[in-house]
Symmetry: C2
Subunit: 250 residues, 2 copies
């Protein structure tokens, strides 16, 4: 019993995320008449969530920037972490991510690109793979056991590479290890030639509220070199935690 009209509108937004579209193309996506698509788009255009150029082609509008900005500001950790992550990015020159666990998924909420011209397929707002991403391991490792098992049970263990963990048991064991050692790695488990390390950010209650990570392609720095970045990463995560009110471990 939910509004199918709004659902269709969301479909249109997703489609426009793939590029500019004409009214007819959008109508085709809905499998509906052009006039239907037009009537759905009009309020979104008025809200500046979508926009149309002179040639009547639709695209995503500037209100999305504003909403996304507000959404990010509502994620308190992000603002606190920003200067530290920027510094880590500057010091290592590598790609730095910040991710959070929200409603059963792990979402990237900030990203600082590598200085080197390497493409990494990640984007703020995308979900991380729960069984391979280092940030996901860090965040899952802190969940209460019951929820952890529940989440792990629902994962599809897509084998991205030869090293990807492919069973719930293997992942649960890995999470134990991560919880014990206080950091996680992704040793070419998601993409063949990319290694990551991640560390937890804790708030005043001690709960892990986010995970920071460094991701490095093999060609830039081999696996052992990435592990050598751990001290810097842990220092960064500790500093962020401190700014979040987390008392240093005692």
């Amino acid at each position: 019993m939910s509004s199918s009209t709004v659902a269709r509108a969301m479909l249109l937004l997703a489609e426009l995320g793939r590029g500019e579209r004409t009214l007819e193309q959008l109508a085709a996506v809905l499998d509906a008449h052009k006039s239907t698509a037009l009537r759905l788009l009009r309020p979104m255009e008025e809200a500046r969530v979508v926009q149309r150029d002179a040639a009547h082609r639709y695209r995503l509008g500037p209100q999305l920037f504003a909403l996304a900005g507000q959404a990010l500001e509502q994620r308190g950790v992000r603002a606190v972490a920003a200067p530290h992550l920027r510094e880590l990015n500057a010091a290592t020159g590598q790609t730095v991510h910040l991710a959070a666990y929200e409603g059963g998924e792990v979402v990237y909420i900030d990203k600082y690109d590598s200085r080197h011209p390497v493409r990494m397929y990640s984007r703020v707002g995308l979900r991380a793979a729960l069984h391979s991403a280092a940030v996901a391991k860090v965040l899952l490792a802190d969940l209460p056991p019951a929820e952890r098992r529940r989440v792990v049970a629902q994962i599809e263990f897509t084998p991205f590479t030869a090293r990807t963990l492919t069973t719930p048991a293997a992942l649960l064991a890995e999470l134990e290890r991560v919880a014990a050692q206080g950091w996680a790695q992704d040793h070419a488990e998601h993409e063949p030639f990319i290694n990551c390390v991640a560390a937890p950010v804790r708030d005043a209650t001690g709960r892990v509220v986010a995970a920071a990570s460094v991701s490095v392609p093999d060609v830039l720095l081999p696996y052992e070199g990435v592990l050598a970045l751990l001290p810097q990463l842990l220092a960064t995560a500790t500093a962020i935690s401190a700014d979040c009110g987390h008392a240093a471990a005692g």
Copy 2:
């Protein structure tokens, strides 16, 4: 004859932009029953455009990050300009903006914050004031005369400061000046103690596709000092234009 359902959904998004809300609060915004708000929110939650925490409080969701990211990528200029703006930001240490004219309004499509801890009220996705922002002057100055007059005629000349231009005639004269000299300034016309300079970015056809600006609070650097940044700004804008395929002026 447009969908009022979608319009209501947009209202909810705007409200959530102001902070987390409970279902009842959102229903109050619509002046509708709780169940109505619930049915509107459900598809948006499924699309991850909104999200709810354990306490059933709604907030903006991560899909907005993804959509905004895609929307920005669709703005070609932004990617091209990014490295140059980053460099200008590093060189001057001041706040750098990139704005574009889209459908009758001037929208910030990128921002690089000042190194100094000064708050500037601007955000990617927000509209610039057409009669005071330096970027707006640059962009309006390049419009065909007819559209320029039409847009100027619709401006509400809110007098933000004592120096704000308050008549269409004054703005049109200013735009002539801007077009002639190839750059624009905002000499405390929007906020009392902030000065800006802006320069046009042109594509291969010579049209102005964006405007880059530097904004500086008086306490950091007085007016004359901001004007002294002009050569760097113009060089940056020229470099971006070149990357956009604009042949250097001959």
